[in-house]
């Protein structure tokens, strides 16, 4: 069982020039810059068991440019390693975990020392505030390589920083700062030069005032200052007075007041770094459990004793997660990187944070997204005029915008002016007055459609006046096209009978160059005028009859051969379909079908075409339109509209539904190609509170945001119009009657060096059956409440993310797939049980760009007298077939922390749960449930919990009562469910209830051996594994299942601590059963199990035993891939191993 890939906390980071070293588990990784991004060059294992907690470099000379000759010191736990680099290429660097060196105690910090004899020498600070030196001389015994310096005060440390005193040339004089578990910061000095004899040392300083454990200490480069951070959520800055102290015994300086205190982190602070400071200021960077990094400035001349926070870096790490564990600042101090508990590594731009006085309005060619903002004083373009001479001029204000790509927009003013503004990338603006019409005063009807002609991007702009007339204009980013302003007057056309409220353009297919625009009026039931537009003229006008309570918000027109289908979205979350193929002006077209509550009762904000398909050819009467909607419900959804032209039937299904938490008010969803990297990204934009947010859904990070004081204002946004310009965006809006222009560039910037995984520990892991996909889908659920869908990449053995859902509000307890792979069931605390529909989007060949769609179809009802923290600890599911053999639903079993059991039928047609049976086991918490259908046609249910017992229930009778029929290995429901109230689960249905463990049964697996035989495997908190072989038969008198014979074996002390997961890994036809087990001791054991005939003998043997770098192992699953079977081990991180 060889480890192939790892995700888990990033515990150390260090820059060597522009290259970044990262300690990820026991692996050292090198990331090198290529273009504007970092790419992973290699990963090498450094330690057998320990994580890499620290990285230090030593260059032969300070101005060394080449990495050859540089030594790296790596440490973790009680191990360290010294590596000579020789270069950065994978082939050159030789690192083997066999070369790890044991330290006499836990290493908190370490540093290289000067060496006169050419033998590498280092100093170690241990967790007991003790300094040791180590000489890397392989010719002498291990113990003799260490030199011991007696501690001035042996106490337990959480943190330390030791540095060589560089003010004294060629010296091994060491300065040590240590943070204790009791909230003290200790300062002491050691001369570690070979010629200086070891002598008793006293503390030089004791810095008091922290109110909790000190988790991080650092010393400023000039050694004059130290910073400490703590459980008490503060950063404290100290003067070291390192020159005035001499380390004599009983000469300890006691400091009770820090130079300055920094308040602001919302949780524990793990570390600080000094940045280059100047004469008057000290600059510090900190990182915390609250998932932020902050920059701080202390002004030496300020009378205030405070560190002022100058910038907060909101986390790029899983928002639901915890902890930034590591941080490194680029030598240029223009950027820094952070490593998270979520396995992610992210880069950040430091420039702005450091230079607080610099203008925030300049565009940089930096690696990050930039924002340029301007407030326009329109008085300069339109001097205030008074309509009536002598009267005070009326204040003009922008009313309505259309953004024409990322560098131009048109604005309609309340006075009746229409203006065009062209923006250069340097921020200069060119205004053009398009016209002045008193009849468009206070208009709200301004619409724009984009089209391409001869390789040029052009826009048709429609403006509505107060009488129902429309003005047709053609524009591009430079201004109006081929129309003199004077001529414009002639193109007003009467379209509606009253004042238009909205002009909605269809974002049509690419190959379709005629535009549609729907014109709505303020009168609720008035017809919607639909214009087919070419250039600046309407070729055809149709009218649509709106459904009841259906104010139009968006339209989408799909053309397929002669067929034209219009999809309309409403302000109340509904969708309507119109067949507009054959309409004419004389008669209003009625909606073909309406679907309500697609986005609850909230406005549909965009409709985008995705793709279409038919069974045979373009003229096929049956075809499918795939489109995307967004809504103020907070979601973007993928829909498939199935059209049967022969019968005029329409069927709408939802194939994907995502609620990006960072954008509660979604305005649009786009898939954009990043030209430079050739990656495509899903971008969602909308509003969150006061902010306009551009959210990169693919990377799960905020691309940019801008505080515009909320979305209830006149605004428009557009990405660049061409593929090369999509990286830019333009946001124009009105605030306080003024026009604000915000230009975003580099929106598709990817700051992640390493993709994040779950933010907290994984609790459940379930793999989909291999039947539908070429690669099995792995669903993982964690304490961070997120469910992630991934697959094992056969090339890298890494888990690659397909999609994720954060819908649960509590940590995930269990996950189970339906046997067909189309549905997933998930459970959490407070009785949360959800049913998820999983669809394949696009080609099923996942690594080539396909994705999956996931829709939450239903939630199981929460009982009325709900208990707080009622956890649904275990789930299992069985397929229920219908008359024609196709499945009609599932039987879901749920066991809960109040000892209750619920059995529910999930109807896939009505998308509803119906409780079939319920009852209690005893009063102890239940943890596990497994179904088993015997060959003789009994449905058995195995339950287990904290009392160490496994109970086997026969629930056949209950299922028959509710109208199901049970056959050999299957359950059927031919007609509807019977019975209005759920049946009662009670002791009478027990076949057996037997104690297998002393306390909690942490895992239970029932393996079908065939011929009514099962092997039941369980693992307990009591460190034991229990193996039971059971043969069932049908009871002759009762008809209930009975145990014909059984045998069991208890493997005591199978692991050193709790056994949390067991998985059978051999198939039924193999002569010996093989299974793997794991637990909190982080060992994976593979067992061989032999069962003699008639169960006369059960023997087990460990055939393999390996260590994994995953604390709190919670689950294992087995994945088949083209390159062999893989074990996926999940806990605090995930490791993939060859089976």
């Amino acid at each position: 069982m060889k480890s192939r890939s790892y995700v888990g906390p990033v515990t150390s980071l260090a820059f060597l020039g522009d290259d970044l070293f990262a300690g990820h588990g026991s692996d050292l990784k090198l990331f090198s810059p290529s273009g504007s991004r970092f790419t992973l060059k290699w990963r090498k294992r450094v330690f057998k068991r320990e994580r890499i907690q620290g990285i230090q470099f030593q260059a032969p000379s300070l101005d060394c440019e080449s990495p050859s000759g540089i030594k790296v010191l790596l440490w973790g736990g009680k191990r360290f390693q010294i590596v000579q680099l020789g270069g950065l290429d994978e082939e050159i660097i030789k690192i083997s975990p066999e070369d790890e060196i044991p330290a006499p105690d836990w290493i908190i910090h370490s540093t290289f020392l000067e060496s006169k004899d050419g033998i590498t020498k280092i100093a170690l600070m241990t967790a007991h505030n003790t300094i040791l030196t180590y000489k890397h001389d392989l010719t002498i015994p291990m113990a003799e390589r260490f030199k011991f310096y007696p501690s001035p005060e042996r106490c337990l440390l959480y943190s330390a920083n030791i540095v060589r005193d560089n003010t004294q040339s060629n010296s091994n004089s060491l300065i040590a700062f240590a943070g204790t578990v009791f909230g003290e910061v200790l300062f002491w000095k050691v001369d570690a030069s070979d010629e200086v004899p070891v002598q008793e040392i006293g503390l030089s300083g004791r810095y008091l005032s922290h109110e909790g454990s000190v988790f991080g200490v650092s010393i400023s480069p000039d050694l004059k200052y130290a910073a400490s951070c703590s459980d008490d959520r503060t950063i404290r800055l100290w003067e070291t007075n390192y020159l005035s102290t001499n380390g004599q015994l009983n000469d300890c300086l006691e400091v009770k007041e820090p130079l300055a205190i920094g308040w602001g982190h919302q949780a524990r602070i793990w570390g600080t770094r000094f940045l280059k400071s100047d004469k008057d200021e000290i600059k510090i960077l900190s990182f915390s459990e609250d998932l932020t990094a902050k920059t701080w400035i202390f002004n030496k001349s300020s009378p205030k004793k405070s560190l002022v926070c100058t910038q907060t870096f909101k986390s790029l790490h899983s928002a639901s997660g915890k902890n930034i564990w590591s941080l490194a600042v680029h030598p240029s101090e223009t950027a820094f990187v952070t490593g998270g508990a979520d396995s992610g590594i992210a880069s950040w731009n430091l420039g702005k944070a450091l230079n607080v006085s610099s203008q925030s309005g300049s565009v940089e060619d930096g690696p990050t997204t930039t924002i340029q903002e301007t407030i326009v004083n329109l008085d300069e373009i339109l001097p205030p005029t008074s309509s009536v001479p002598g009267k005070k001029p009326v204040k003009d204000e922008p009313r309505k915008y259309v953004a024409l790509g990322s560098h131009a927009f048109i604005v309609a003013m309340s006075s009746g002016w229409l203006l065009h503004c062209a923006l250069s990338s340097t921020g200069s603006k060119k205004w053009q007055k398009l016209g002045f019409w008193p009849q468009i005063k206070n208009t709200s009807a301004l619409g724009m459609g984009k089209y391409e002609e001869n390789g040029q991007i052009k826009y048709t702009v429609l403006l509505g006046d107060n009488t129902g007339k429309l003005l047709f204009l053609e524009a591009n980013s430079e201004g109006l096209i081929s129309t003199e302003v004077e001529e414009v007057e002639t193109t007003w056309v009467q379209i509606c009978e009253s004042r238009p409220s909205d002009i909605l353009f269809s974002n049509s297919q690419k190959d379709y160059n005629s535009l549609y625009a729907a014109v709505a009026t303020f009168k609720p039931n008035e017809q919607i005028m639909l214009l087919q537009i070419q250039g600046a003229t309407a070729r055809k006008t149709l009218s649509l009859s709106p459904p009841e309570t259906f104010p139009f918000t968006k339209i989408l027109v799909h053309q397929r051969g002669h067929k034209r289908i219009l999809i309309a979205g409403s302000r109340h979350g509904a969708l309507a379909i119109y067949d507009i193929s054959n309409g004419d002006e004389t008669q209003a077209i009625q909606p073909a079908q309406v679907w309500r509550h697609i986005h609850d009762d909230e406005s549909i904000t965009s409709l985008e075409y995705k793709s279409s398909s038919s069974l045979r050819n373009d003229e096929d009467a049956q075809f499918k339109i795939n489109f995307i909607s967004t809504g103020r419900s907070g979601a973007y959804k993928f829909h498939t509209l199935s059209v049967n032209d022969t019968t005029a039937e329409y069927e709408l299904s939802e194939t994907n539904a995502v609620y990006p938490a960072a954008v509660p008010r979604v305005e649009s969803y786009q898939i954009l190609q990043h030209e430079a990297s050739n990656n495509s990204y899903e971008i969602v934009y909308g509003f969150w509170g006061r902010d306009f947010v551009l959210w990169n859904q693919t990377l799960k990070i905020e691309a940019a945001s801008y505080d515009c004081e909320g979305g209830n204002r006149s605004w428009d946004f557009s990405f660049g119009p061409t593929d090369t310009a999509r990286n830019d965006g333009l946001f124009v809006f009105t605030k306080a009657k003024k026009c604000h222009i915000v230009q975003f560039s580099n929106i598709l910037h990817d700051p992640l060096l390493q993709t994040p995984f779950h933010g907290r520990e994984l609790k459940a892991l379930a793999v989909s059956p291999a039947t539908l996909f070429p690669y099995q889908i792995i669903a993982t659920g964690a304490e961070d409440t997120v469910i992630r869908f991934s697959y094992v990449n056969p090339q890298t053995s890494e888990l690659n993310l397909l999609t994720a859902r954060k819908t649960h509000t509590t940590g995930i307890q269990d996950l189970v797939w339906s046997s067909c792979g189309g549905w997933l069931f998930s459970s959490g605390s407070i009785e949360e049980v959800y049913c998820w529909r999983v669809n394949i989007e696009g080609p099923a060949d996942i690594p080539n760009g396909a994705s999956i769609g996931v829709v939450k179809e239903a939630a199981y009802d929460i009982s009325t007298d709900s208990l707080p923290d009622l956890r649904v600890c275990g789930l299992d599911v069985m397929t229920v077939d219908g008359e024609n053999g196709r499945h009609v639903g599932f039987l879901l079993g749920m066991v809960r922390s109040d000892s209750s059991i619920k059995l529910a039928f999930y109807d896939i047609t009505s998308k509803k749960f119906i409780t079939v049976a319920e009852g209690f086991y005893k009063t102890s918490c239940l943890l596990q449930i497994c179904f088993h259908v015997t060959d003789h046609g009994s449905v058995l249910m195995f339950t287990a919990g904290t009392d160490g017992h496994v109970t086997i229930w026969d629930i056949t009778g209950i299922l028959i009562e509710s109208n199901m029929t049970v056959g050999s290995k299957h359950i059927r429901l031919d007609r509807g469910l019977k019975g209005s109230s759920p049946a009662k689960l009670q002791q009478e249905q027990w076949i057996s209830c037997q104690s297998f463990h002393q306390n909690s049964i942490k895992c239970l697996e029932v393996f079908d051996k065939g011929e009514d035989e099962v092997v039941m495997l369980s693992g307990g908190d009591d460190t034991a594994i229990s193996v039971a072989c059971i043969k069932f038969k049908r009871g002759e008198a009762s008809g209930k299942g009975e145990i014909e014979r059984s045998a069991s074996k208890l493997i005591e002390r199978a692991h050193a601590s709790a056994v949390t997961t067991i998985k059978v890994v051999s198939s039924v036809d193999q002569p010996h059963l093989e299974f793997v087990s794991s637990g909190v001791d982080q060992q994976i054991k593979k067992w061989s199990l032999k069962i003699a005939e008639y169960f006369t003998e059960v023997t087990t043997e460990v055939v393999e035993d390996v260590y994994v770098n995953i604390p709190d192992v919670a689950a294992i699953c087995l994945v088949e891939s083209t390159v062999g079977s893989k074990l996926v081990v999940g806990g605090v991180g995930v490791e993939v191993l060859d089976l």
Partner: protein, 331 residues
């Protein structure tokens, strides 16, 4: 979560309040005692990392003052006899309970509470002085100490192991031969190394999980019985064992793992025992509590006997509240 809903989630939390214990952990020691008969013939006990004092309460009630209506008695006597524990212990004059913690602890009847660092050499003579003894004659040493958990599992398990070893070092200094030692342990990655070390000093080492300790927690308790130090072993707090080198000569010993005859690798798995009967409350279960008690009186959720100790971030919270500004402290 309010205290009423916590009552339903955590039955031992509710029980502790009803029976006047300062923390739910009291039941862990009670259940350990029920299994191992730890308090039999015990007259001298040392409770390490004792704050807020629930284990000392158990020791006091079990060894000193046995009363039927415990809440009332403790509530009143605690105030009255706080400064004169001798008065109570005069009932059973021989019993001595010494409780140590770095944090101050509200006094308890019959318990000598000392604010001291268990790793500091000066603590030993202090403990012996209060035991009124000049030799190691303690029957039982208990420790329920746990560190601030950071979330880095290897570090947290290391710190917890150091706490346990510090407690062991003190125990080796004060225990009489044949005495017992009980301590909290995290059953994590390297727990087998710790078991192995404990086995060197005790005839029997068992790892026990009381039913009142949550199944989802990695916490358990080592019960080490019959203290039998290896020949020639000299206990000392100046030179503690296995807590990192204290002098040059220690280094060789610290970089090679300890080993037992039956555990040559330095790893040995202690037998596991669950304490507490199945009829007792299940700390993982959620209970539906009746709205009224057995007398038909409406159930009222009572306040904890002692509010939780002030967290280290108390000042930070106060600062945030004082400054308002949506929790932002930036200027």
């Amino acid at each position: 979560m309010g205290k009423s809903s916590k009552d339903k989630r955590d039955s031992y939390y509710r029980l502790a309040k009803e029976q006047g214990y300062r923390a739910r952990s009291a039941y862990k020691l009670l259940q350990l005692d029920a299994q191992f008969n730890l308090f039999k013939d015990v007259t001298r006990v040392v409770d390490l990392c004792a704050a807020p004092g629930s284990w000392s309460q158990v020791l006091s009630r079990s060894l000193v003052a046995k009363t039927s209506n415990e809440r009332d008695i403790t509530a009143t006597t605690e105030k009255k006899v706080a400064d004169s524990p001798v008065e109570i212990s005069s009932k059973k004059p021989k019993v001595k309970i010494v409780a140590l913690d770095l944090q101050p602890m509200t006094p308890l009847p019959g318990v000598i509470t000392l604010q001291a660092d268990i790793t500091h050499p000066s603590t030993l003579p202090l403990v012996l002085k209060h035991l009124e003894s000049d030799s190691a004659n303690v029957d039982l040493v208990v420790s329920d100490g746990a560190p601030d958990v950071t979330g880095l599992h290897d570090l947290d398990e290391y710190i917890q192991a150091q706490l346990l070893l510090a407690a062991l070092n003190l125990a080796t200094c004060v225990l009489r031969p044949g005495g017992n030692f009980v301590a909290k342990i995290f059953r994590g990655r390297d727990v087998a190394e710790l078991y192995c070390k404990l086995r060197i000093f005790f005839e029997r080492v068992t790892v026990a999980k009381p039913r009142s300790s949550r199944g989802s927690s990695i916490e358990a308790f080592v019960v080490c019985e019959n203290y039998t130090p290896p020949e020639g072993f000299k206990p000392s707090l100046e030179n503690p064992i296995w807590t990192g080198p204290t002098k040059k000569e220690d280094i060789a010993g610290q970089i090679t793992e300890v080993s037992l005859e039956d555990a040559p690798s330095g790893r040995w798995v202690a037998p596991f025992v669950v304490c507490g009967d199945l009829s007792e409350w299940d700390s993982d279960a959620t209970y539906q509590l009746p709205d009224t008690d057995e007398n038909g009186v409406k159930r009222v959720s009572i306040d904890p006997i002692q509010p939780p100790t002030a967290p280290p971030y108390k000042t930070a919270i106060e600062m945030r509240r004082r400054l308002g500004n949506g929790g932002k402290i930036e200027e």
